[in-house]
């Protein structure tokens, strides 16, 4: 069995120990675990900003993790980040499309209008807990809320470019791969996004 195991590692000698190969597989699994652990909260926040719904955002992140693990886990670790964000952006767009379709369908159904996403948010639950540094945290919460509102107001591609480039720290090439467009397009979208955000937030900030 050990001889077959070496077949997965082309660089390992035929009679060499398969342990090195197993170690490589374990290292790869650990690297994937670390990558997902590092990125999961950021991905959730990105999805929350785009979707405004925590459950939908969690579903989108979980789908992105599963797809990455299923289809791209064997790729070099350096490729995971742009791939993951591309999968996530596609998932977010799918959720948004489904919502649009659902809203159109609901518009045709007679009767009292209901929120298709479920119950109205509980204002008590939604309220920010002031805590010990209440005033400062409240201001911070308001600032992030303003930022999220401004980001949601941006066209999709501009929002993606700004979030990936600035908030997630991807370089232009990685952002282009994640968005599936040219680097020139990334620069254009990003520049317009910054301009729009400055126009919206400049007075408040």
């Amino acid at each position: 069995m050990a001889r077959f195991a070496t077949l997965t590692c082309p660089l390992t000698a035929w009679d060499g120990p398969a342990k090195g190969c197993e170690d490589g597989v374990l290292d790869h699994a650990r690297a994937l675990d670390k990558f997902l652990a590092d990125i999961e909260r950021r991905a959730l926040r990105m999805a929350q900003v785009a979707l405004r719904d925590t459950d939908d955002a969690l579903d989108a992140v979980q789908d992105a993790m599963l797809k990455l693990a299923r289809h791209y886990a064997a790729r070099p670790a350096s490729e995971w980040r742009p791939l993951f964000y591309r999968i996530l952006q596609n998932g977010i767009r799918d959720v948004q499309r489904r919502r649009t379709l659902r809203r159109r369908l609901m518009a045709w159904i007679p009767g009292p209008r209901q929120d298709p996403d479920g119950e109205a948010p509980d204002p008590v639950e939604a309220a920010v807990d002031p805590g010990p540094d209440g005033a400062q945290r409240l201001m911070q919460a308001q600032a992030i809320e303003q930022l999220e509102e401004s980001l949601r107001a941006l066209p999709t591609r501009q929002r993606e470019a700004f979030m990936l480039r600035n908030l997630e720290g991807l370089d232009v090439a990685q952002t282009a791969r994640a968005m599936g467009c040219s680097q020139g397009s990334v620069k254009t979208h990003y520049s317009r996004a910054v301009h729009s955000l400055r126009a919206q937030l400049g007075e408040v900030w």
Partner: protein, 131 residues
């Protein structure tokens, strides 16, 4: 980086750190599910490679056997008889003359008279004996 970019990034980082424990727990579960999928996928691929290697070995053996079967028809004489070149070489060795040794055929030619006499004598003495 402009003020707007720096501040928005700092706010975003704070909000990432502020993700509550319930959500972190669900993210961890999602991550473990993804890692399980990756492990299963790796196992399936490894098994597939082993099966492919075994099938390739069997196929190579079958091809080799078929090639030998076709190239070596049934009822053919052994290679030593079929190989005429080897037989002629053997004859050459037997028929070749060597200065240091006496050829048995030459010996037979030189003593032909002696052998003819010996045969005749033997016939006469045989016929002379009673019974």
């Amino acid at each position: 980086m402009t003020d707007l970019e720096a501040r928005s990034r700092a706010l975003y980082e704070d909000s990432v750190e502020a993700v509550d424990m319930r959500l972190r727990s669900r993210l961890t579960q999602a991550r473990h599910a993804a890692l399980e999928v990756a492990a299963r996928r790796r196992g399936t691929r490894l098994l597939g490679m082993r099966r492919s290697a075994a099938l390739a070995g069997v196929a190579a053996t079958a091809v080799l056997a078929a090639a030998l079967w076709i190239a070596w028809p049934a009822g053919a004489p052994p290679a030593g008889v079929v190989d005429g070149g080897a037989n002629f070489a053997d004859l050459d060795i037997v028929a070749s003359t060597d200065r240091d040794h006496v050829d048995p055929l030459d010996m037979l030619q030189e003593d032909a008279d002696f052998y003819a006499w010996a045969v005749a004598t033997a016939d006469q003495s045989g016929s002379g004996h009673p019974g």
